[in-house]
């Protein structure tokens, strides 16, 4: 897949997906308002499928939309369900667990199903919607889930997984929609399944980001470099624990670890890395997550408030 010009996160995601959708034979694209109105606020803007495919502006039937996609998959077809909000996927959990289990256990379909929900993580939503716990969905049935966070991973994740045989969920962050997409440059290590990527290789500190916290990790790395530190930066795109060997080897060298996870879940997927890393006799480890304050059900910001200078001071302290 050819590279695209740098611009806003949403534009970049949309452009990459538009190319992928247009390249697939027999693709069924469906979801609410996928080709009507704002096209899910621009997420599915300009989608055109090949003659062998179809775009369906679906009914408001989330459980059934998920089952429908699995049905197409069992039938050997390729489908992609675009969803305005991760919360809507709660209605499809029965299908995500039971139907997907049956397919994995008993069928040998070459069909494909991809769900692409938007994580509504910009805050100020109040009690109606604030789920950004993408990993929880994946954990519940060991589903392959990938978070799109920067200019490199969007192209790589879509190329590696979209419309490929099998099932997965690929999510985007609404919080980043209007931000300039981060271009982390040529990566040091890319996992073949795009479960994690190493973007910087330094010996002073290992920074690892989870869920959609890569922009925080990247900013922290840039701030650290300003004071002469050489950080290693890793982003975990995958939603459930992976083989941490590569990251642990890096931590053994730096002996200092910063883990960032912006999910609101009580069961963060970074916990498994932390548990293993803390057995390595670290000089320092800092864990940054979103603090759930008493007003978390009110319309408040979802951003993590990070004092980068303070973090760097703590890392530099002997």
């Amino acid at each position: 897949m050819e590279d695209v010009k740098p611009h806003k996160y949403l534009e970049h995601v949309n452009e990459t997906l538009r190319k992928a959708v247009g390249a697939e034979e027999g693709l069924v694209v469906f979801g609410q308002n996928v080709s009507a109105g704002s096209r899910i606020s621009g997420f599915t803007k300009g989608f055109v499928v090949k003659e062998s495919g179809v775009i369906i502006n679906s009914t408001n039937t989330e459980n059934s939309l998920v089952g429908f996609g699995f049905g197409i998959m069992i039938g050997g077809g390729k489908s992609a369900l675009f969803m305005k909000q991760l919360d809507f996927l709660f209605l499809g959990i029965d299908q995500l667990v039971n139907t997907y289990n049956i397919i994995r256990n008993s069928t040998h379909t070459k069909g494909s199903f991809t769900i692409l929900p938007v994580i509504v993580d910009m805050g100020y939503e109040g009690p109606q919607s604030s789920s950004n716990n993408f990993a929880d969905f994946c954990s519940i049935a060991r589903i392959d889930g990938y978070a799109i966070t920067n200019k490199y991973d969007v192209v790589k994740i879509i190329a590696t997984h979209f419309a490929k045989p099998g099932f997965r969920i690929i999510s985007v962050s609404q919080r980043m929609y209007k931000d300039e997409i981060i271009d982390p440059g040529k990566p040091i290590i890319t996992d073949k399944d795009m479960k994690f990527v190493q973007y910087k290789d330094g010996a002073d500190v290992t920074i690892v980001s989870f869920n959609f916290s890569f922009p925080y990790a990247w900013q922290l790395a840039l701030e650290a470099e300003k004071v002469g530190m050489k950080p290693s930066v890793w982003n975990v795109n995958y939603m459930t624990p992976v083989d941490w060997k590569s990251i642990l080897e890096n931590i053994k060298i730096t002996k200092k670890l910063v883990v960032l996870d912006d999910s609101k879940s009580e069961n963060l997927s970074c916990f498994s890395l932390l548990a293993e890393a803390r057995g390595l006799n670290l000089e320092k480890d800092i864990f940054i997550k979103r603090e759930m304050r008493a007003d978390w059900l009110n319309p408040v910001s979802d951003a993590i408030d990070i004092n980068y200078e303070a973090v760097i001071r703590e890392l530099a302290a002997q």
Partner: protein
């Protein structure tokens, strides 16, 4: 087209085979030799035979957890199904599925689910997949009067109608959801009106006559494919194997226990497998069409064949 005499006999033999096969399973169940829970479908043989006779290559069938009659009909034999219940590698799904998710993709059974309502949307997806490939096939999804209470029933009917998909929603109305009758758990649903409201054809099957069921089902299948339209078929069934517990002060006539799953303790293996002398029993209904002596002779033969098959 009226059923010929020889074809009638073949259909009657199938009804009897499905019944005796289930009776063998029941005996194994009573003897605690099965490794998984089985939902017997004594009383469902007529509709199972009708669906099987109607299906053509490429059609999809999505039964519920009570799938034994359909699996027996599609497989044409008992042993691989019984072996799946024993969780033997020789089982129809090599011990991967057990009872409630038993599949037979080669014969069109591509999905089964014990989760109420999950099969409806999967059927719509399968139908879309087949339609887009230009196949002249139908997808049959089997639901109960309990699972049609789930939102996915309405949602999937709506999706199938909106997208003009050849899906047959077959509702097995046995009046019960585990231990509660319809009138104990909800207001009635007029399925014909519900279907009409969505501009979906509705048909009612009752009386357990496999011959008329086959004719009706063939007509429905053709209509669904030719018009690219879903159809809703409601079939009245009784899950045979009910019993009464011993008399108590609270229940002088004995508490009524509806058969749901597990062995049916008061159903016994018999060369003549009729359970009830009423239209609730498809084997009884056969006696309206074929001499009982002929049926009994055939049943004895089937019994011996099945006994040999699983010995």
């Amino acid at each position: 087209m009226p059923t010929s005499i020889s074809n009638k006999k073949k259909i009657a033999e199938e009804v009897v085979r499905l019944r005796i096969s289930q009776m063998f399973v029941n005996e194994e169940y009573k003897a605690k030799r099965l490794k998984v829970s089985v939902h017997l479908a004594l009383g469902y043989e007529a509709i199972a035979v009708a669906v099987n006779e109607t299906m053509e290559r490429g059609d999809n069938l999505l039964p519920s957890h009570r799938n034994i009659a359909y699996n027996l009909a599609r497989a044409g034999k008992l042993q691989p199904i019984l072996d799946e219940y024993y969780l033997k590698p020789t089982g129809i799904n090599a011990a991967h599925s057990g009872s409630m998710n038993m599949l037979n993709p080669e014969m069109g059974i591509v999905y089964t689910s014990s989760i109420l309502g999950n099969a409806f949307p999967v059927a719509t997806g399968l139908a879309l997949s087949a339609k887009r490939r230009g196949k002249k096939n139908v997808t049959i999804v089997i639901v109960g009067d309990g699972s049609m209470e789930e939102g996915s029933y309405y949602e999937s009917m709506l999706m199938a109608r909106s997208m003009e998909l050849p899906v047959i929603f077959l509702i097995e109305n046995n009046e019960w959801s585990m231990s509660t009758r319809i009138d104990q758990r909800r207001s009635p649903i007029d399925v014909s009106l519900l279907s009409k409201s969505m501009d979906i054809r509705y048909e009612l099957l009752q009386g357990n006559d496999p011959f008329s069921y086959i004719e009706k089902f063939k007509d429905v299948r053709e209509y669904s494919i030719e018009n690219n339209m879903p159809v809703c078929v409601e079939v009245k069934v009784a899950t045979l194997g009910e019993r009464r517990l011993p008399s108590t002060q609270e229940f002088p006539e004995g508490e009524f226990i509806n058969y749901h799953a597990g062995p049916a303790p008061e159903v016994f293996l018999n060369e003549w497998p009729m359970i009830k002398e009423s239209e609730e029993d498809p084997v009884f209904v056969l006696t309206k069409h074929i001499e009982q002596s002929v049926l009994k002779e055939d049943a004895r033969r089937q019994f011996a064949i099945l006994q040999k098959e699983i010995s």
